[in-house]
Amino acid sequence: MRNLIYLSVVFPLIGFLVNGLLGRKFKSEKVVGIIGSGAVGAAFLVVLAAFVETLRMPEEGRALIVTLFQWVKAGNLDVSIAYQIDQLSLVMGLVVTGVGFLIHIYSIGYMHGDKGFWRFFTYLNLFIFAMMNLVLADNFLLMFLGWEGVGLCSYLLIGFWYDRKFEKSTTSDAAKKAFVVNRIGDFGFLIGMFLIYLNFGSLNFTTVFAKAGVGNIPESTFTLIALCLFIGAAGKSAQIPLFVWLPDAMAGPTPVSALIHAATMVTAGVYLVARCSIIYASAPMALTVVAVIGLATAFFAATVGLVQTDIKKVLAYSTVSQLGYMFLAMGMGAFSAGIFHVVTHAFFKALLFLGAGSVIHGMHDEQDIRKYGNLKKYMPKTAKTFLIAAIAISGIPPFAGFFSKDEILWEAFSVGGFGFWIFGVITALFTAFYMFRLYFLTFEGKERFDSHHVHPHESPAVMTIPLMILAFLSIVGGFLGMPAIFVGEEGNLFGRWLAPIFKSAETKIFTGAEHSHLMEILLMAISVAGAALAIYFAKFVYLHKPEIAEKVSAKLKPIYTTLLNKYYVDEIYDAVVVNPIRLVSESFLWKITDVKLIDGLLNKSAALVDYLSGYIRKIQTGAVQFYAIIMMTGILAALFWIIKSL
């Protein structure tokens, strides 16, 4: 099955083509849904089979490259459509297709009755196709193809309901914002890729990383490449300063938020850094930048999440914050811990979004948590699974989030020091607080909706079964990566699995001072106790004494409004970046450069060509004698030329 790994890319492509070309003609949603989900399910089975097969093999022989065909050959550049099987790509592939499959199934229920049902599944399949190219690619160019592909799908899906209003503008504007901000990141990726080709003479991972490992390339080059790639990663994974698109991306249908803007696409940046671990390991300065940006993003987004009132907005900021954790791990050189958090986060964050989708579905598109309350009564399954996810993300053992987050915090402490750790822990407390604020406001307490007009109902099984599966994974997923102090180095299955990938990178970097087991357990206890406290506090405030929340927000009005308005980042960007650019574009680039210079030049030369064209066609008289004369002239000229030059 390993040699057939490309099928996991081909199946979604087939699904995309079938639904895209014929979807409109399939009268039944069932057919479209089965084709769309089936394609991803089949892809999942392919990856799973390859995974099982790989698991049985000895560690040295696990990497494999399956080349389909040569893609670009120009000079030294030789790029193939080739897919790489190794420990990292398999993990990512399993998450993408596995979680993707569940979300496809869920969408059958969620999108029921939508006039764009077939279009939705078409885009979704295209997304999986692009994402699989991204994670399985064996070279930077193919990865970039996937990278751009997922960006396109993200754009298409955020603006899926193009005729709907979103906040102050439309969903199309949100889609455009996502696209434009991502382009800035892509620019960094491209420059990084060019630099790699310039310095390593190849774009294939194997060649590049082998050359990077020997190291006769100066550190400054590595730093430059690493930072350029990180700009790309920051764009795709919504890190400071390019995170502004992700909250707006919530304009898309909720399964899209779950699949693209929580579980898979936004982790592509983390994957990029992990994939290039050797480059980052050779550039300590870049690693520090990654860590600081990651931590700052995690903290900053968590504070914004504390006060948001839109259920999806809370989750969006939570995603930004969790992505920050992942980059924090990368920056600490704890690559496998970061990827581990990618996996567990995919489970519980997809679950949270799907749960939110289920609530929105049951509440007739109401998204304001102030208008929910006591929904546990109406949608018990959604409530229970949502609770599980909330516990998982808050880092309460033994749920999945505890293990991955704890590993990151421990690395932050032992490599980065106390400062990194304390901010990490505070962020974790905030996370637990806003997550349970969300839970209590939504599912418990008094009903705050108008029960005459709104009749909440549980979602159909096609939606709740994926919720349950994800809930199961959110509970047990963490056991794959148990901390070494409990089970020994060998017991951390996930870390051991990924170890060969990051071996060469980890030998290059400082892996942390020695600390006693006691210290580790102590820190762990502090973060768990803190999270538990935060949960209790959330319960106290939002369930028992709601007036406290109002009092606090009234007292801290300036802080509260700042947070509510997301630190005014959008406004600042508008004032500092967007408006000046628009001004210059409109007054100078458009009205002078484009209209006068370019169009003027173009129109004049087009007129010239047109004039010439009218003249030339008169040469074609139709008289065969004249044709022969022209030929003869040509021959004589050539003869004259050749005799002269001999």
């Binding site: 060509v609 064209s613 030339i616 074609q620 022209i630 030929m631 050539a638 050749i642 001999l646």
Partner: protein, 483 residues
């Protein structure tokens, strides 16, 4: 001669035998007429298949002259020759699909059509596989005479007659120079065998008579590829000939002429003072590209527009000759493959839409086609994008490899002119797309039934145009291995 030699010659034998077989069927079996198109199609397809899979299985290159060798060493097998065989046969097979219902539609269905078509293909194959000047000449004449007859195939149509006569007159004129050139070559090299000529090239290039011979030889084929200033026939002939014939002449016919130029020119140019022919071809390339692109803008008839476009394409390919390096030759062959399928697709679509009275020959008729025939309109749009060299279609990589070759050999200015001409050409290619999608049709009436076989031809061309655009690497590697 051994039995295995017969396997070498299999492609030629199948096509040659096929001609005789169809002649006999046509004469003796009244009911047999119906199977002739299908038979022709499968003969061509089988030959194409066989040629493709024997490219790397036969000895490549010039075989020494041997009295015991097959055909006295006048033909070569395997390698580049078989690649061309594949192109000719596969392209013609698509042309048969186009012709089948088209001929019924214009009420000119006679079985000679397929005999002439097969015979022209045999001629092309003799050119591409030739190792002897006389053989080249025989191949060329067999192809040309079949084409003359095919061009005038709509015998009651005045334009068709005009096309045939003009093509014949000017073609004979060009052939005169060709044979004159061959005489010079024979006179100086004392042999008709290419292997003998090439072995003396380093000496012969200093002989003006030999160089004049080569020049006239090249001019003979430059006429066939319709490059300026030997292009005058092309617009009239492409316009007047039945569309299915134009599809054939414009694509594989041009490829055959290029295969002959490649046979001679490469070896001579390698030895001799590059600058002479290289600069001559540079001039031809520039003139053809600009003339073709500019003149196409003024055209109102779509076939005529494509004729000028094909002059421009001949110009792009000539850049590969001017570059005189292996990547230029590889580029030409890649371009020929891409060009063949793009044009087969384009003419195929025209043939599908064209009516007996000549509807859909004017570009204006394509207004609003996007809603009337969504699939054909989309296909034509893709082909127009491909022809203008927009990725990810095959036409882009054709131009890319050619321009790359020019830059590698230091003729960056040629690549620049090529790009400039491409920019001009975008105008007339995209005009068709604009008409199809952004203009309303005056005539909303339903379009006649679309032929299934013709549709198959269009789909086949389209698939290849897209495939070679997405994965040009495998084809260019195959070609590079043969040079």
């Amino acid at each position: 001669m051994e039995m295995k030699d017969l396997f070498y010659a299999m492609p030629l034998l199948i096509v040659g035998g096929g001609i005789l077989l169809i002649l006999l069927i046509d004469m003796f079996f009244k009911g047999g007429k119906k199977i002739i198109p299908a038979l022709t199609f499968f003969i061509l397809l089988g030959t194409a298949y066989y040629s493709l899979f024997t490219i790397n299985q036969l000895p490549i290159g010039l075989m020494p002259v041997s009295e015991f060798g097959l055909f006295y060493g006048m033909l070569s097998f395997g390698g580049k020759a078989h690649l061309f065989y594949f192109l000719f046969n596969f392209g013609s097979a698509i042309a048969v699909l186009i012709a089948n219902d088209y001929l019924k539609k214009i009420e000119t269905e006679y079985s000679e059509y397929y005999i002439l078509l097969l015979s022209s293909v045999l001629g092309m194959m003799l050119i591409a596989g030739s190792r002897n000047l006389v053989m080249i000449f025989i191949g060329l004449e067999q192809m040309s005479i079949s084409f003359y007859a095919l061009a005038g195939y709509r015998r009651k149509n005045i334009l068709s007659n005009e096309a045939a006569l003009k093509y014949f007159l000017l073609g004979s004129f060009a052939t005169g120079f060709l044979i004159y050139g061959m005489a010079f070559i024979f006179g100086t090299a004392q042999s008709m065998m290419l292997i003998d000529i090439f072995s003396q090239t380093s000496v012969l290039v200093k002989n003006p008579l030999f160089m004049i011979g080569i020049l006239l030889f090249l001019i003979g084929f430059t006429f066939k590829i319709a490059a300026v200033p030997f292009h005058m026939w092309a617009p009239d002939v492409y316009e007047g000939s039945p569309t299915s014939v134009t599809a054939l002449m414009a694509t594989v016919g041009k490829a055959a002429a290029f295969s002959a130029i490649l046979l001679i020119f490469v070896s001579v140019a390698k030895m001799g003072p590059n600058s002479v022919f290289s600069s001559m071809f540079s001039v031809v390339a520039v003139l053809s590209m600009l003339y073709g692109s500019i003149a196409a803008i003024a055209q109102k008839d779509i076939k005529r527009m494509l004729a000028y476009s094909s002059i421009a394409h001949a110009g792009y390919m000539t850049i590969g000759l001017a570059a005189v390096n292996p990547s230029g030759i590889a580029g030409i062959i890649f371009y020929l493959v891409a060009y063949t399928f793009m044009n087969l697709g384009a003419f195929g679509i025209i043939a599908l839409l064209e009516s007996k009275e000549g509807k859909f020959l004017s570009i204006e008729d394509y207004k609003g086609l996007g809603t009337r025939q969504p699939f054909l309109a989309a296909s034509l749009a893709i082909i127009m994008f491909a022809l203008s060299g927009i990725p990810p279609f095959a036409g882009f990589f054709g131009k890319y490899y050619i321009f790359l070759a020019a830059i590698q050999s230091g003729d960056t200015w040629l690549a620049l002119v090529g790009v400039l001409s491409s920019v001009i050409s975008v105008y007339f290619y995209l005009r068709v797309v604009v008409y199809m999608y952004f203009s309303k049709s005056d005539d909303e009436s339903a379009i006649l039934e679309i032929s299934q076989t013709g549709l198959l031809a269009v789909i086949a061309s389209l698939v290849l145009v897209i495939a070679f655009g997405l994965a040009p690497g495998s084809l260019i590697r195959l070609i590079s291995g043969l040079i």
